[in-house]
């Protein structure tokens, strides 16, 4: 994962030093000019984000490879390929989660709901968050994205992100303080 400090000036007070290290390089690093750049720099960070959403490395890589294929296909038309990639990764992860739910609902493929993540109280609570709230938490506290960037990744308004984070944190507190 690219681990740079990044431009965290937009982070809220008290959070700035503890939110995730940004996935994108900071301003001193050259912006990606080729698809290869994006692939090299973002593949592992994106797999890790997807892993945090899905709990499965194989599915995370599947989601990210699919998302990168879409980025590559549209490369010439993308103004901000990394933002588009984040959005694709989140949405491909949603697709996988939906498929899981359907599989469970219809007992179609009998896929056991297992996670490769090492469990503890907080990670258990994270896993129980609705998908969008979990995505907001991961993008904020792991990827270190701003509310605006999270909004772009999730396709919602920044105000909605604020609300989602607030509700997610409240839900997590409720679980871990029981």
């Amino acid at each position: 994962m690219s681990t740079t400090g990044g431009a965290l000036a937009a982070q809220p007070p008290g959070v700035q030093e503890r939110v995730g290290q940004r996935m994108s390089v900071d301003a001193t690093v050259e912006l990606p000019t080729t698809f290869e750049d994006v692939f090299r720099r973002q593949y592992e960070p994106m797999v890790r984000v997807a892993f945090l959403l899905l709990g499965s490395r194989a599915e995370a890589e599947d989601a990210v490879q699919d998302a990168l294929a879409r980025v590559q296909l549209r490369w010439a038309r993308l103004d901000n390929p990394e933002a588009y990639l984040r959005r694709c990764v989140v949405n491909r992860s949603y697709d996988i989660l939906r498929r899981r739910r359907l599989e469970q609902r219809f007992r179609w493929l009998q896929r056991p709901e297992t996670s490769e993540m090492q469990a503890d109280e907080l990670s258990d609570a994270l896993a129980k968050l609705p998908a969008k709230r979990r995505a907001a938490i991961v993008l904020r506290y792991y990827a270190g994205l701003s509310e605006q960037e999270i909004a772009e990744a999730l396709g919602v308004r920044p105000g909605t992100v604020k609300s989602m984070l607030h509700r997610a944190l409240a839900q997590l507190r409720e679980v871990i303080e029981r």
Binding site: V15, R18, V19, G20, F39, R40, R41, Y43, E44, V47, R48, V49, F51, L52, R57, A60, E61, V64, Q65, D66, L68, A69, R70, Q72, L73, R74, R87, C88, N91, R92, Y94, D95, L97, R98, R99, R101, L102, F106, E116, M117, Q118, D120, L122, S123, L126, P130, K132, I137, V138, Y141, Y142, L154, G155, V156, T160, M164, L169, L172, R173, I176
Partner: protein
């Protein structure tokens, strides 16, 4: 000892969990991405071809055969496949298979035969549910006209709802689809679309989150990105309603679950329904028998045809019927196909003919013909037979 701040704990826990995964940008990963890109590109090209009206006739499942003036000219078959979809054969002169998309099997027939090219590597879930490019590319049912996806196009994702006047299947109809998307809807002037605001929040903010265009003499296609559902798109096809009524109806559609990720599986509550329309229940998907197949062919003169088969019973038939009613302005002719009652629709605006019938209680077949005259339609209908080519 006090517990650390939750935000700090989250940071630590998430980084600890993520550190379990090592996934370098390897050559193998790059090759996999390149392969996926190639598959997407081929699908897109195919959709453009389909959307452009270069369709052909087709057929089949267990066996497929097209024969021209000389039987050896175009004949290919793949046999031994199990399933509920029927074997159909059509004799047409000078046509060739351009693709076979099969949503039922993980193994797609492959190989080449004289006069026929079968696309290989089409995965079972061949509709990219998360990429709205599929909307523009004509993946949606029946080419460039209607853009409402039947269960066929959406697989088991998303929702489809039908609104019409009870007991009047030929009356005003609205079919609404809600599904996942990566991008927001943008009006495409090249398709004759006009940017519009859908929903009170979008109207208040002057946010053009939708695109509308007329379809047929009495119908509209509206696509929009619901403001409260960030990763979803919605689309509807109407006929028998004015544009204002359509926009009002769409603006009054409330997701059944506002924030749940499952909202696009459960659809909308309609708060505004003009002209006595009511939601008509659509039969549930039976995932145990969801076999689907699309075979596409093209003729040497630019004519084309598709046959869609869908084994999901009444739901598939209801949706196909509603969409075809919408695009034909409610007009159809009753015909007979393979001794079964069928409906023939003409979409004169884009030069398409559609034949719809329930082949069995489970299987619906929709045949689309493009660039042909009525006599050819009759020839195709008369030429259909069950079973593989001799």
């Amino acid at each position: 000892m006090n517990r650390p701040r939750l935000e700090d704990e989250l940071h630590d826990v998430l980084h600890r969990l993520a550190s379990q995964v090592s996934a370098p940008a390897s050559a193998e990963a790059g090759q996999s991405i390149d392969h996926r890109t190639g598959v997407l590109r081929r699908r897109r090209q195919m959709r453009y071809a389909v959307g452009g009206g270069v369709l052909a006739v087709a057929v089949v499942t267990g066996a497929l055969a097209l024969r021209g003036g000389e039987p050896s000219d175009v004949e290919t078959g793949f046999t031994g496949r199990e399933g509920s979809l029927p074997d159909l054969t059509v004799d047409l002169d000078g046509w060739r298979i351009t693709s076979v998309d099969d949503a039922s099997d993980t193994t797609v027939p492959s190989g080449e035969a004289p006069g026929a090219v079968i696309q290989t590597g089409v995965p079972p879930d061949f509709v990219p549910g998360g990429d709205p490019a599929s909307i523009w590319d004509g993946e949606w049912l029946l080419g460039p006209g209607p853009e409402i996806a039947p269960p066929w196009a959406g697989g088991s994702r998303g929702s489809i709802q039908v609104f019409r006047v009870p007991g009047q299947p030929r009356g005003p109809t609205v079919v609404v689809r809600l599904d996942s998307a990566t991008d927001t809807v943008v009006a495409q002037e090249g398709l004759g679309e006009e940017a519009v605001s859908v929903g009170e929040r979008a109207e208040n903010d002057g946010f053009r989150n939708g695109a509308v265009r007329q379809a047929g003499t009495n119908g509209f296609v509206l696509k929009w990105s619901p403001v409260s559902l960030g990763d979803s798109y919605a689309a509807l096809q109407s006929w028998g309603l004015t544009e204002d009524q359509v926009l009002e109806l769409a603006g009054g559609l409330q997701p059944r679950f506002d924030e749940a990720a499952a909202a696009d599986e459960t659809g909308f509550e309609a708060t505004v329904l003009p002209k006595g329309l009511e939601e008509e229940p659509v039969a549930a998907i039976d995932v145990d028998r969801q076999e689907r197949r699309l075979v596409t062919l093209e003729g040497s003169d630019g004519s084309g045809a598709e046959i869609r088969m869908d084994s999901r019973g009444e739901m598939a038939y209801d949706v196909f019927l509603a969409v075809l009613l919408a695009t034909s302005g409610g007009e159809f002719e009753e015909v007979t196909v393979l001794d079964r009652p069928a409906l023939l629709f003409e979409n004169a605006e884009i030069g398409e003919w559609h034949v719809l019938w329930r082949h069995t209680d489970d299987v619906t077949v929709a045949l689309t013909l493009t660039g042909v005259d009525r006599s050819t339609v009759d020839d195709v209908i008369d030429g259909l037979r069950e079973g593989s080519a001799p």
